[in-house]
């Protein structure tokens, strides 16, 4: 009986350690994806706004997700003309679905980031394709489209006009 219990404890420890390591790897990978996205968005902003009219602030926020627990992840705040736009990682294990490129059936994305002024919202879905990130942008009215510089500029204009 004692051996069985000892065995049980050992198995539980191994299981929790494995889950913890898996969650950490997933969170680290998600954090890197968000950092790459933010670097791209900053680059687009630098090209359009070399004098820094739009003030960019990055801060770390706590997010809690099932099986991933509580983790810290960056978010961006853009401020210009008395307006605020947040670019906010919402979830790595999102419930939101979209049709990834070259696929017709919607599926759960591998991450979600929202662009919002708290009144309106655009959703960025992340899919992984051959080891690289593909981001789609959804205005929640029409089908999600690939995120590119034009799409990002249109979103910012819609908030700042």
């Amino acid at each position: 009986m004692t051996t069985t219990f000892r065995e049980f404890l050992r198995e539980q420890v191994e299981k929790h350690q494995a889950e913890g390591q898996s969650a950490k790897a997933t969170v680290d990978e998600w954090r890197s994806a968000v950092e790459r996205l933010f670097a791209q968005l900053r680059e687009w902003l630098r090209e359009d706004d070399p004098t820094g009219v739009i003030e960019i602030e990055e801060e770390q926020k706590d997010v809690t997700e099932p099986s991933l627990g509580r983790y810290r992840i960056p978010r961006l705040s853009l401020r210009a003309f008395g307006k605020w736009i947040g670019i906010i990682p919402k979830a790595r294990k999102t419930v939101a679905t979209a049709s990834p490129p070259q696929k017709s059936a919607p599926q759960r994305a591998d991450g979600r980031v929202d662009i919002t002024d708290e009144l309106r919202r655009y959703v960025l879905y992340r899919f992984r394709d051959d080891g690289r990130d593909v981001w789609l942008i959804d205005d929640l009215k029409s089908e999600a489209k690939p995120l590119d510089k034009d799409a990002f500029e249109r979103v910012l204009m819609s908030y700042l006009r």
């Binding site: 997010v63 997700e65 099932p66 919402k90 294990k93 419930v95 939101a96 759960r108 959703v123």
Partner: protein, 193 residues
């Protein structure tokens, strides 16, 4: 909410359901086994992430105990005032002497609108209707209610009443001493699981 039992049922049901929702968000919400569930066709839920559920339920749960004390005491206070006013009014109406009528009117105003401590708790203690230690315990709940309702500033040691359970028990005991029916109100407002 008109009765202490009704307020208590509200508190328990609200806290229980917030905790359930928090658990749903923190443990199950985005689980792959629910991927094809019909809930994702509902606009209320299809863009709702686990992190939002956890953040919002945490924000709701944080002040719930203080809010419960505020609500419990408000309902209790109004029950006590109503009970005493109902007892005083018929006696006041029988008085003929203007001095006594005026004094009774003042007493009634005090019970209905005056300081709950000075015009209600103290007289009840002085008349021996409620034991001094119970009056003091209820007064501690009153002080805690005031402190919580005014932004939790300048706490003093007297305000430690523990949890809303403690407040509820004290207020319930007080109502019982005044003969305010607790059993009936509990039956009428009995919350559903």
């Amino acid at each position: 909410m008109k009765t202490l039992a009704g307020a208590w049922n509200w508190y328990e049901a609200t806290k229980r359901n917030l905790r359930r929702m928090w658990r749903l968000g923190s443990k199950y919400w985005a689980h792959p086994s629910l991927k094809d569930a019909s809930i994702w066709q509902d606009d209320q839920f299809r863009m709702l992430e686990a992190s939002d559920i956890v953040a919002e339920t945490t924000a709701s749960l944080d002040p719930i105990d203080d809010l419960a004390v505020i609500v419990l005491f408000s309902v209790f206070e109004s029950q006590v005032r109503d009970h005493l006013a109902l007892r005083l009014k018929p006696e006041k109406d029988t008085l003929k002497d203007p001095i006594l009528t005026e004094a009774a009117a003042d007493a009634l105003r005090g019970v209905e609108e005056g300081s709950f401590y000075r015009r209600v708790l103290c007289p009840l203690q002085a008349q021996g209707l409620v034991p001094p230690d119970l009056v003091e315990q209820v007064n501690q709940v009153r002080k805690y209610r005031n402190w919580a309702a005014h932004g939790r500033r300048e706490r003093d040691a007297e305000m430690s009443i523990g949890t809303p359970d403690v407040a509820y028990k004290r207020l319930k005991d007080f109502l019982a001493k005044l003969g305010i029916a607790i059993e009936v109100e509990e039956r009428e407002s009995g919350g559903a699981e």
